[in-house]
């Protein structure tokens, strides 16, 4: 069965009676996601990450006590269903979701042990990770590369990628797009993607279509102060067959890599 999300708006998330965020579609009361890559475009603080987190079951209210009028259902299973609880959420995350968090983080053990504990699905792949190297000592870019290797798993059909390219050089970006391309060829995936540097590329890309515009209303309550209300928008673009896009990104980064090599050689000659 093809994996799909169905969202019924409004989606509301409240934090300790001090903050609430409400997502509403500008075009209809419901929204569906199925195979393909979805690019979320919006300003800083517009709620892109929160929206992905709600979809990925790492934040939000679940179960029958959830106050949401709207809901998310994954493959027909509602997040605010009567029998949905934290155990079921964890089962879905483990079985179906790849989550690349905005903030690279590791357990305080070697990279190999990180892989074994967090993924560990392929014995052969274990050997590529160092049993001694602590990921905490690596640079931001290296950490992101290792996190990609650990987290991204084509056995899981839904990927949530929150700014995975930040801190990455052309070589590692090239590696990232190759990983996505190979995985997509192997098995069609549903990929949610956030990045701040690809907005103009995506908007111009002929394979991406505008999917929906989400209006995001944020309300801050502070004791003794008046209610602060802010409204933002998130544009979501969709590409059902992203192979061409992946290949273009791979090529672009290849040229970037050769440019980097040229600059490097030029500096060496100059010196």
């Amino acid at each position: 069965m093809e994996n799909h999300f169905k969202i019924t708006f409004p989606l509301i998330l409240e934090h300790d009676d001090s903050f609430s965020i409400k997502f509403v579609s500008k075009t209809s009361d419901s929204l569906e996601f199925s195979k393909g890559i979805y690019y979320l475009c919006g300003d800083n603080g517009s709620g892109k990450t929160t929206f992905l987190n709600i979809l990925a079951l790492i934040t939000g209210n679940i179960g029958k006590k959830a106050i949401n009028k709207g809901t998310i259902s994954f493959n027909g299973e509602k997040y605010n269903g009567d029998h949905f609880n934290y155990i079921r959420a964890a089962e879905i995350r483990e079985k179906s979701f790849c989550i690349f968090p905005q903030k690279a983080f590791f357990l305080p053990i070697s990279t190999r042990d990180n892989y074994i504990i967090l993924n560990g699905t392929e014995k052969e792949k274990e050997k590529f990770f160092s049993p001694q190297e602590s990921p905490d000592l690596l640079s931001g870019g290296q950490q992101q590369k290792i996190l990609i290797d650990i987290v991204l798993d084509d056995k899981k059909p839904i990927w949530f990628l929150d700014e995975p390219l930040t801190n990455m050089d052309s070589e590692r970006r090239h590696y990232f797009w190759q990983t996505l391309n190979k995985s997509f060829i192997k098995k069609p995936l549903m990929i949610f993607f956030i990045d701040h540097w690809l907005d103009h590329v995506i908007m111009k890309d002929e394979d991406f279509q505008h999917h929906v515009t989400l209006a995001v209303n944020m309300e801050h309550y502070q004791k003794g102060k008046s209610l602060s209300v802010e409204t933002q928008e998130i544009e979501i673009f969709r590409n059902n067959a992203p192979s061409n896009f992946f290949n273009r990104q791979i090529r672009d980064n290849e040229s970037g890599m050769s440019l980097q090599r040229d600059e490097s050689s030029y500096r060496n000659i100059g010196h």
């Binding site: 790492i58 934040t59 939000g60 934290y86 989550i99 968090p101 903030k103 590791f106 305080p108 967090l118």
Partner: protein, 468 residues
């Protein structure tokens, strides 16, 4: 381990503090338990606390007492022992020949008295096995000095003299109805017995029971039976009567009719012995169930004192039936109260402290783990469904430590008991197990609560992952 290196040390110290506190508390409890248990067993096993000697002043007083109180005493699970009494600080007690098979089991109270005065072995040897005929029997002419071991020879001699005077007085009372030649024979026999009985000291290692130290001499009551039988035996000619009791100097035995050593028919199951009516006598009341072990709500075991019986005995004291039992009754009450208070305070203290430590420390451990591991755990949960395992591990860790500590200390205690050859009730396992099970059960929801941010209906992994 998911902890960072610096946090790991703090966690280990917290766990070590938990083990130390739990171990110290359990050890302290077991030490006090051992002390009170030894005291409790001593009191429960004390033979002297199962028998009370109550005073009756005269024969008619004794008869009245038996009439009024024997049924009531039976209602309280006690019985008057008819085969012994204390007269003039001397214990007169029936020694039964071994030929009376089976009487020992039936005479539980008398066996207790034999054991109490350490005369179990001498009762077996009083009657010589080598017998002349079916009608005759040889009896060793000995009495037993109960607490004369520490006394000087002069005092012993004087006591021996007093004993002989007592026996003479008794014999003189018995002879009242004898006339003429029969009296001569009686006096001859009296001299034969009284002049020839000698003192036998008990085992050198034997310490007289402090609760019965007023008993000076133990006399086989069979000697009195001989006098009484001679007075009552009207079928035998005077000449035959002279031969009926003979002292054999070489063997130190008295050769007499077998029937003369048995309880006279008129005294069978009675304590009157009207021949001895000058001084008050103390009759033994056997009360095997005055003190019993008692469970209190399955929390601890202390001593249950038969209050009704003790109150009844106290009433008897006010009516003049006191002396040997009066002090003992107070000693029993005081001892039982003190031991029960110690047992109660030890167990109360243990239950409160052990449950406090067994719940508070695991709670701190789980809280510490949550505070310092929330980022790692939330990151882990993004990829793996390990919620049940996490809750189980942080529940199991302190529970397992408690099991190790308590099990280790209990096993050590059992080894100590075995090495010392102390046969104590090991019911301490109940209190240790009870606190263990209770703490484990109570800690289960507390542990879940510590990690409730991972287990509620409000998912928060993203914020926790950021260390918020």
């Amino acid at each position: 381990m998911l902890f960072r290196k610096t946090t790991r040390k703090r966690f280990v110290f917290l766990v070590a503090a938990f083990i130390f506190m739990m171990g110290f508390n359990s050890y302290s409890y077991i030490m006090r338990f051992h002390k009170t248990e030894i005291q409790k067993q001593d009191v429960l096993k004390e033979k002297a606390f199962k028998v009370f000697f109550l005073r009756t002043r005269t024969r008619s007083d004794c008869a009245r007492f038996l009439f009024q109180h024997s049924n009531k005493l039976q209602d309280y699970g006690s019985e008057i022992v008819n085969e012994a009494f204390i007269y003039q600080n001397n214990l007169y007690i029936n020694f039964f020949p071994l030929s009376l098979e089976g009487h020992k089991d039936a005479r539980e109270a008398l066996n207790l008295l034999y054991a109490l005065f350490n005369i179990e072995k001498v009762t077996e040897t009083l009657f010589q096995k080598e017998q002349n005929s079916d009608y005759d029997i040889k009896v060793i002419a000995d009495y037993f000095d109960h607490n004369g071991f520490w006394l000087s020879d002069d005092i012993i001699r004087s006591r021996h003299k007093l004993l002989k005077q007592d026996l003479t007085d008794i014999a003189d009372m018995i002879r009242e109805q004898l006339r003429g030649k029969r009296l001569d024979v009686f006096n001859s026999i009296k001299r034969t017995i009284i002049d020839n009985i000698k003192r036998i000291s008990l085992d050198e290692n034997y310490d007289p029971n402090p609760y019965l130290s007023r008993v000076e001499i133990i006399i086989p009551m069979n000697f009195l039976h001989i006098f009484t039988h001679i007075r009552n035996d009207t079928t035998t000619d005077v000449i035959d009567l002279g031969d009926s009791v003979r002292y054999e100097e070489e063997t130190g035995t008295i050769n007499t009719f077998r029937s003369f050593t048995e309880i006279p028919a008129k005294y069978e199951d009675k304590l009157l012995y009207d021949d001895m009516d000058i001084y008050p006598r103390y009759i033994p009341v056997y009360a095997p169930n005055v003190l019993k072990p008692r469970w209190n709500w399955l929390l601890y075991e202390d001593i249950d004192i038969e209050t009704d019986f003790m109150d009844y005995v106290e009433q008897l004291h006010f009516k003049g039936h006191y002396m040997f039992s009066y002090e003992k009754a107070h000693i029993i009450k005081d001892k039982v109260k003190k031991i029960n208070d110690d047992i109660y305070s030890n167990h109360t203290f243990f239950y409160l402290t052990d449950l406090s430590i067994g719940i508070a420390f695991p709670f701190m451990i789980s809280l510490f783990a949550f505070i310092h591991l929330k980022t790692e755990i939330s990151f882990l949960f993004m990829f793996k469904n390990r919620i049940r395992e996490l809750l189980f591990i942080f529940w199991l860790l302190p529970v397992f430590l408690m099991l190790i500590v308590k099990g280790g200390i209990f096993t050590g205690y059992l080894f100590y008991l075995m090495s010392q050859g102390i046969a104590l009730s090991s019911y301490i396992i109940f209190s240790l197990s009870l606190t263990f099970v209770l703490a484990s059960m109570v800690f289960y929801p507390i542990n879940s609560w510590c990690f409730s941010q991972f287990t509620g209906d409000k998912l928060n992994l993203y914020a926790l992952h950021k260390g918020r």
